[in-house]
Each structure stands twice: as C-alpha cells, then as structure tokens.
Symmetry: C2
Subunit: 137 residues, 2 copies
C-alpha cells in the first residue's frame, strides 16, 4: 500500500466527519455493472476507510470483482453538510477473531463484542483508499 499524503485528498475541513459515528453509504457495482448502495459502520485509520463485511454479502462479492467504490457520509450535526469519498478497494483482510467488527461495536454501540454475530459468519475488513472527494455545506 503506497505511502501517500491522504490529507491532500480528504479536505481538511471535512476530516472531522471521519471521526463521527455517522454511517457511510457505500456504492458498489453489482454483477451487471449496476450501482448498489447500503449503509455501513466505518473506521478511518488516516489512510483508509475500513468497513466490515461477511463473505456471503453481495457487497463483498462486488468489491472482489470490481474494486471501484464510492461512499457518502452526512454530518450528524448538520444534514446539509456531507463528504463523498471515491476510491478503490486496496485490500481485503480476514477478521477471523472478529477483532475489527468488535472494535466497530465499541465505536457504534459502546459494547465490547459485536452482538449480531451469527455462527458461521466469516468476516473480512475492506480497506478503501480515497482518491477523490466531493462535498457540500
């Protein structure tokens, strides 16, 4: 994963949105190249937007096939302020001990363990490298 100054890509005055517990709405491409959209919990490590996914979900299959992705997040304090991040899925990592989804449960639910885990769920961590943004507000 190439080192690069992500602060040049995420505008400084929108970086606060990456520290909120807002949902990001993730747009991916389906099997026929059609757009699909759904909201997810996310994390920002200063370089990648990260989200959790089970291997059985359509979105996982979508980004394995086509890594182009877009995400939009609205300021929870101001519905007229949002950031769109377009980028590429740069990596997908296994999350065999659920460390990442549990970290997301701590962030979003204040719980140490993700409470919706189903037996047999195999989770991965999707790493998105931002390449372009749009914003409003």
């Amino acid at each position: 994963m190439a080192a690069r100054d992500q602060s040049r890509i995420i505008p400084e005055d929108y970086q606060d949105l990456l520290d909120t517990t807002a949902l990001v709405h993730v747009a991916t491409l389906g099997p026929q190249g059609e757009p699909q959209s759904n909201p997810v919990w996310f994390d920002w490590d200063g370089e990648h937007v990260k989200f959790s996914q089970t291997k059985t979900r359509q979105k996982y299959r979508n980004v394995m096939r086509e890594p182009k992705i877009a995400m939009s997040v609205v300021d929870p304090e101001n519905p007229y302020r949002y950031l769109e991040i377009r980028g590429t899925v740069e990596g997908i990592e296994e999350d065999p001990d659920n460390a990442f989804i549990n970290a997301m449960a701590r962030k979003y639910l204040g719980m140490d363990e993700y409470p919706y885990h189903q037996p047999g769920d195999e989770r991965v961590i999707v790493y998105v490298r931002p390449q372009h943004t749009t914003h409003m507000g």
Copy 2:
C-alpha cells in the same frame, strides 16, 4: 410509464421509510462507469422516488448517460434499519418554476421557497422506478 403495483416491490413494512424526512443516498455511475454517491432530499409519489437536480451537476449527467441507480435510506429513528431501492431513471422533467424543489423545501425545511436557489440554476425532477429492494433491521 407502465402501471404496476409498486407495493410488490417496496416491502410493506419498509414503506414508512418513504414518508420520512431522511435523506436518500443516491448511487449513480460516473463517466468511467465508476460508482458515485451522494445524499439528496426525496419524494415518493407511490410509484416513483423523485429528487431534484440542477442540470450542471455530475449526477444529472450520470443518469442521462446511464439510468441505472440505487438509493439507500436509513430509518431516522433506528440506525439499524434501512431500505435499499434499486431501479431505473424512467423520466426527467423540467422544473422551470421550481415547484418541485419548493415542495422539497416545504417537506425538509418547512419553508415555502427553496432558499438556496442560485440565479441561472436550471432544475429538473428525476423519476426513479423501483425494481428491486434490499433491507435490514
């Protein structure tokens, strides 16, 4: 626009989300077929999801080129409940007197006139016919 029972497409127990003042996040395809995402105000007329757009915006050009679209909306009362609507842009109508964007300002802002109109803005109404949904919660 073919008559069709949309209630078969929007699950009955998610139709309430179409009456909220939540934002829908709209996923479209950009010039290189890449996904793009951003939040918009919307209306539901029982058959189409409708949203306003200025002709200069990328999203307008996107749906003129490729009418496939997806939208996700989260329940404002329950962040773990959402509806995704996939469909097709079936029509684009002029909104020369801003009747539609003003109706959206009434819905979302409680104001009779859209306050962010810029001189020269040419607005259209985008009509999306739902074809498939996914949901959670």
